[in-house]
Amino acid sequence: MHNVWLIAKREYLERVRTKAFLISTLLIPILMVGGIVGSLVLGHKTKPTSHIAVVSPDQQLAVDLQSELQNGKDSRMTVEVISPGNSETRATLDSMLVDKQLDGYLWITPAADSSQRPSFSYTPRSAADMVNRDAVRTALRNVIVRERLAHQGMVASDVDALMQPVKVDTTQAGRIADSASSLVAVGVLFVLMYMVILLYGMNVARSIIEEKSSRVFEVLLATIRPEEMMAGKVIGVGAVGLTQVAVWLITAILLTGSSLMGALAGGKVQVSLSAMQIIFFVTYFLLGYLLYSSIAAALGAMVNSEQELQQLNMLLVMPLAGCFFAMAPVMTNPSGLLARVLSIFPFCAPLIMYLRISLSTPPVWEIALSIVLMIATIYAVLWVASRIYRVGILMYGKRPSLPEIMRWLKYS
């Protein structure tokens, strides 16, 4: 155990000390802060403040539009009303566009039949000016709807009431639908596992390949067992990944406040269950991470270069992707046969069993069995990996075929 600890400690410290680690760890939080600050700043700026002109023979429509655009909810424009335009208006407006005195103008041509909508043509100074165009379009729709409603004999106050935006109270979501909140937690677990395994599982494999190419293993194997080395690598490199994810998560929680916290805890609502859920979340996440890292270690033991590893990394992600597709049937019937089998199968257990625990209450023995099986599998995978490793390093140069690997397992 002492040797495992030494290997893990070295691996952890050496990796955490690198500039690459520091940069990637800090970069994400900086991007998060930057993103939030940026969106706040941009949020203020997106209300258009441009200067446009409206040319309309219908004075009422033009004035309504002007007040909507100048004082409306989403825009603070300066609007000139030209009513009605004459033959030289268009030329004048065009030259004003060129002189940058105007940002655009709207030309309204009344329809021949009064029951038809008039036709609108908006000429912006720049073709890329979508903000003004959208603002004008929204304002026009509001104005026309108001006008029509008034036309139908509705009182102005009623029209205002009707035009109020609908408010949906989102704070109640999750209070009743408890499966929804656990689904969020499962989703977070899934994304987290997928991401962490993709980002860091491969680091375990890489670190083992690195050890092979630097030939340090021979000195190490003269004192420690390959199993100890494998375990140390998985724990050490794994801890680096967890450190980084922890830094990111903490930043995210600090930045976004309790809402994410709520999601992570599987919904804060059910206090009695959420403590359990957190424990299970952490347990299954760690076990799943360890299991997949061990497989990565085995892959690393099998190959000699990073390129060969690339061809095999599908093997790492495939079971996880399979679990993703199994999620739907498990959700509809969390105690069904499929769900029970998958939740005990070690490679699916971290996701599926957690999903079942969130949705229903599986028997304690099934939970215990899934955990025991996962630990046993981690041990078995590491044992196999160390066998492959020990024999593999002595005949480096070519990737072993499956029958060769089987034969290696018999060597000691």
Binding site: V216, E218, L221, A222, T223, R390
Partner: protein, 316 residues
């Protein structure tokens, strides 16, 4: 009690036989040379001694007990292919390797400094390994095998790739360690190094034991039938009947005499023909003994395998 004992050890990788029926003993406090050309099974034998691989058959005993991993901290090992963590600082690296061998961090660091001082690389201590020259890296690897003061020191080709100054420095260090009572085993394909350093040797070829025993005994088995001479003038005396074979390098001749031949007769003949500036009767060098043994053996093998082929044909 021998400190290392191999009994009838065999090891094959897939179809290639690396070691076959190899037996030898290393007595405590001796300097043992494991010799053989490239690919003869030196590294395979060493790996089996320290449990990196396990023999297919036969047994390995360390410190008078059947092989047991718990004895490994008493062994210091320098592998043939050097390996250090490239990005790690020298001192951290040595401390880590020392700790893996059972030292605590403070002792490991203290000893690492002392050794770096002794091997004149103290200025490299705070550098990363990748910044160092190959020779320096080798010294660091050398130190890492010795930090935990092992009773048995196993070094696979310890002097390869070193300049003469550093090679001598490491040789002297090994001699010192041996005088402190440690047992040293090293492998090499350079026989001339062994003659000076070792008191016991084991010569292997194609995984077979060719020759083993004390250096003196081996040498004494071979009569002093080599003559090294330097001369100017007519070299026709080299056809003298007492000469079995000769290598003539324009004025320098390495001569092997026939069994029972007298060097004096050759000298008398030579004096009449040429001007002799040097005439030395010597024991054969290890290299010559080795080549003689190996040639004899491969001739025997060739004859045997021919016999088999012929027999197969008859049966078919």
């Amino acid at each position: 009690m021998p400190i290392v004992e191999l009994q009838q050890v065999s090891k094959a990788y897939d179809t290639k036989v690396a070691v076959e029926n190899l037996s030898f003993k290393i007595e405590p406090g001796s300097m043992f040379g494991l010799l053989g050309p490239n690919g003869s099974g030196k590294t395979s034998s060493i790996r089996m001694m320290i449990g990196i691989t396990v023999p297919d058959s036969g047994s390995v005993r360390l410190f008078g007990q059947p092989f047991d991993r718990k004895n490994l901290p008493r062994v210091g090992y320098l592998p043939e292919e050097r390996g250090l963590y490239k990005k790690m600082k020298v001192i951290d690296q040595l401390s880590f390797l020392g700790q893996l061998h059972g030292l605590d961090a403070t002792t490991a660091t203290k000893r690492a400094y002392a050794w770096c001082e002794r091997l004149e690389i103290i200025e490299a201590v705070q550098k990363k390994t990748e910044e160092l020259s190959k020779g320096m890296q080798q010294k660091i690897q050398f130190i890492s095998a010795l930090l935990h003061e092992p009773e048995l020191i196993i070094m696979d080709e310890p002097f390869s790739g070193l300049d003469p100054v550093n090679a001598t420095l490491l040789q002297d260090t090994l001699v010192d360690l041996r005088q402190q009572g440690r047992t040293v085993l090293f492998s090499t394909h350079r026989m001339d190094q062994v003659e000076k350093l070792c008191d016991t040797i084991c010569l292997i070829h194609n995984g077979h034991l060719v020759l083993s025993g004390g250096m003196r005994e081996i040498k004494s088995k071979y009569p002093a039938n080599r003559v090294h001479m330097i001369f100017t003038g007519d070299d026709s005396f080299l056809n003298h009947p007492s000469i079995e074979s000769v290598k003539n390098y324009q004025g320098i001749a390495e001569i092997k005499l026939r069994e029972g031949a007298d060097a004096q007769a050759l000298l008398a003949e030579a004096v009449t023909k040429a001007r002799i500036t040097r005439f030395e009767v010597m024991e054969p060098t290890l290299e010559e003994i080795f080549i003689e043994k190996v040639t004899a053996e491969s001739n025997k093998e060739a004859r045997e395998s021919n016999g088999f082929v012929a027999g197969d044909r008859v049966n078919a």
